[in-house]
Symmetry: C2
Subunit: 491 residues, 2 copies
């Protein structure tokens, strides 16, 4: 096979990169830290977007668009935002090029220096709350529930395709409410939407929880996150939803006249998921043969590969394929007929496995005689012979089975790789051997959290929302704790 | 009425701005030249995007995503691109902020200066062709037919909402072909797609043509454009499609092995439309009461306004509305029920007129008795009484009629405002009186074109593709000409 990929055992990190590049999802660009999302990768992202957008609209949100640039001074307005948020960002200082007087090419025109530098948005709370000030006068203007699909830039030194790139695509929801309770409810609703999406469509089980003080979003009162476990036992934060209190309203002076006529600061939330989800999707399900896609997000759900010698055989096979393809398409299934005549079936099989096409159907002259086809499912690599008359129904069923199976498989892995520990020694031992999620008691202090991080590299991923309340003692300090926190080494 | 708008006669330019702002389409942001696209405006843009995206996919294109930033040196690679393309752009020079040592706020960290400046993309030919070099080896890799939905930045000194902004949203198609003929065919196909969209969905008639040398895209061999006429007699370029020859392939060294084994440069096209179309949509159809939207792009196609006194009446009316709403929705029509209880019907009528909702249905207790409703169409402001049992069918029909009527109205205006002239005096006189499109013979030289532009401000919008071939004499120089060019003063 032409496009060999590194096995997970040999080098998990290289395995991931191999799949992303060789399955044609994305590649590095000429611009440091920025990626090119290739058509096949983008088609998956489009399916994610479409489903999320639908879920946002069903929960009462509308889309809008705010500027790419944010005046530098805006970042200083919310104290903890500027303190906590990374200062690595792309800064626009000039607005004109000119021909190089010394020869070829172009140079920056120093006469065209901006009075105030502009920051390429790393996130848009500041510019949006500055805008909301003009939109909100009374309680009748609330709630505002907006979402934006956009590109953002955070200057990262060490980048990895999809998981951490300087520029990435995302959506950011920004809502404004009259009451604290309503804003908290919104933040929780949206982390629930993310959980439903990641579990129900990506087939990746997640734990919903709140972040500890040190992992919270800069400017938030509470950050809810969904945490997923990858095959190598590392955790990946797949989405966050923030209850921002009145912090941004105060920073940008956004008040409203309440029903009772009082002037109050507005309550806020923000929430986002990004192309990082593509990384989670790849790492959660794929194997040493390549990508494994959940049928609900696969751009091509079924591929037909004809087995033939010569044009006459191809044309006979093609006739049957067209008939079956129509039957499948009538059920809303996306189908490709791979009739390229310069490649052998074996090569095609490997390529479609690499690309994670959930169902492959091979059909040749012998199948025409017998009235059957050979169906291979990508998740288990199992093959089965199916009567041609039963193909449409069987495939429809199979897509549901595959969607469910990859979720169950990931769930089983997570269960195996989740350990309750009672002592710090046990904690370290589990981390060094099986890795994964560790549920342990913690005294709630940043100090202890920092110490654990320094000594083990593990961080608190979240305090699970549905976590059992139980009396316990912090594994490090022995101080009392009422609930276990979820620890892991994270991406 | 609360939101009075300036009349077209008083001040056409202010009328436009009033509609954009007061109908809630967009507003200026805190960042010079950048706009905020508000939810109602964005909802229209989403409908445009969805339809265009469908048409791109139907013509064999896929979406992808390329970096926001382009290394400065890339712009120097294609000589006419850098010469002809405006050098006003946003330039990223640094990648880190730091706390201001002298006090509050943040300042640019001078230690974090980029080795090579990055340009925020004004268009993506350069970065895309630099990427295509890695994707194309043989004729089997061709054609590549990609589109990108993205934001771009061109530093404009004088901006107008939607029509000319520093940042705008657009799509840019970039295709690579093995032959010249195929690339030309692609460029023509896409200008045809644009024409079909603008006429069929936006209801705006356009003329397809080629650009003269001076108006051509920097780096293109031929630029096709669609040109529309606004109500004030000015032209607006609504979309362009470029045959780029081998210019970018040569600049970025993109060659392929042909079927015959020869190494050849790849042929290219690019094509784009932007949020500028929103400006065209507003200006083409709207009147002194506000926006007029074509039903195919209206986020809300039908609004119900209840006429009532007290809750009991409202609840009786609401029951009937819900029934009718369901009937309409079953036909795929988007319906809003405006049951706000703090606003008078007259206020609501004006607001929905301002927002261009194609069909308004008023219904009160008397209508319940008589079994009728009052339907008002936005385009003609006509009112009619319709039996409740006939509402769904009548409205479905009406939406088709409105879509057709606004196109016909715009077409009639264009016909009235298109004049054939034979002399330069006549040309000037028509420009100064009725304005609009002028069809005149031109000798084909940039010199003459420049003179006309300097003396009259009119430019050659295009040389119409379906223009009649006829012998004539240039209105300025008297030199022979074989076809009339389309002149106008343009946005």
């Amino acid at each position: 096979m032409a496009k060999e990929i590194t096995s997970r055992e040999d080098n998990y990190s290289q395995w991931y990169t191999d799949i992303v590049i060789k399955a044609g999802l994305a590649e590095h660009s000429a611009v440091r830290g920025c990626m090119v999302i290739k058509p096949y990768g983008y088609a998956i992202w489009e399916k994610m977007q479409a489903q999320l957008d639908k879920m946002f609209k069903e929960t009462g949100h509308q889309n809008a668009y705010f500027p790419l640039f944010i005046p530098k001074s805006f970042f200083s307005k919310e104290a903890s935002h500027v303190e906590g948020f990374a200062k690595e960002c792309a800064i626009v200082t000039h607005y004109r090029l000119k021909n190089d007087p010394d020869g070829k090419g172009v140079v920056v025109d120093e006469d065209a220096k901006l009075e105030e530098e502009l920051i390429v948005r790393p996130t848009s709370e500041t510019i949006i709350w500055n805008t909301y000030r003009g939109w909100i006068q009374s309680y009748r203007d609330l709630p505002i529930k907006l979402n934006q699909w956009a590109n953002v830039v955070r200057w990262e030194m060490r980048t990895r395709l999809f998981l951490r790139t300087a520029e990435f695509l995302w959506q950011e929801g920004h809502t404004a409410h009259a009451t604290k309770a309503e804003a908290i409810e919104e933040a929780k609703t949206m982390i629930g939407v993310y959980s439903d999406f990641v579990q129900g469509f990506m087939g990746v089980p997640v734990t919903i929880g709140t972040k500890s003080d040190s992992e919270r979003f800069a400017g938030a009162v509470d950050t809810y996150s969904i945490e997923a476990l990858m095959q190598d036992g590392k955790a990946l934060q797949a989405g966050t939803s923030h209850f921002l209190g009145q912090n941004f309203a105060k920073a940008f002076d956004v008040k409203f006249a309440s029903k009772e006529g009082a002037l109050e600061y507005v309550w806020a939330t923000s929430w986002g998921v990004s192309t990082r989800l593509m990384g989670a999707l790849v790492m959660a399900h794929s194997d040493d043969n390549g990508l494994v896609l959940p049928p609900k997000l696969a751009p091509i759900q079924v591929v037909f590969v004809p087995i033939f010698k010569g044009e006459e055989e191809l044309s006979r096979v093609a006739e049957k394929v067209k008939e079956l393809k129509l039957q499948l398409e009538a059920k809303g299934i996306s189908v490709q007929f791979d009739d390229r005549d310069n490649l052998k079936p074996g090569f095609k099989f490997a390529e479609h496995e690499l690309k994670g096409v959930p169902v492959r159907i091979a059909i040749g002259p012998k199948d025409l005689e017998k009235g059957t086809v050979e169906i291979a499912r990508r998740d288990t690599l199992e093959k089965m012979y199916v009567e041609q008359s039963a193909v449409a129904e069987r495939v429809e069923q199979l897509l549901i089975e595959i969607q469910d199976n990859i979720f169950q498989k990931a769930l089983k892995l997570r269960e195996e790789k989740t350990t309750k520990v009672e002592t710090y020694d046990e904690f370290k031992q589990v981390l060094n051997t099986k890795g994964g999620f560790i549920l342990a008691h913690w005294d709630g202090t940043t100090e202890t959290e920092e110490r654990i991080k320094e000594e083990t590299k593990a961080t608190i991923r979240c305090i699970p929302l549905d976590g059992e309340k139980e009396e316990g003692k912090c594994i490090v300090t022995g101080k009392p704790s009422t609930q276990r926190a979820l620890f892991a080494i994270a991406y």
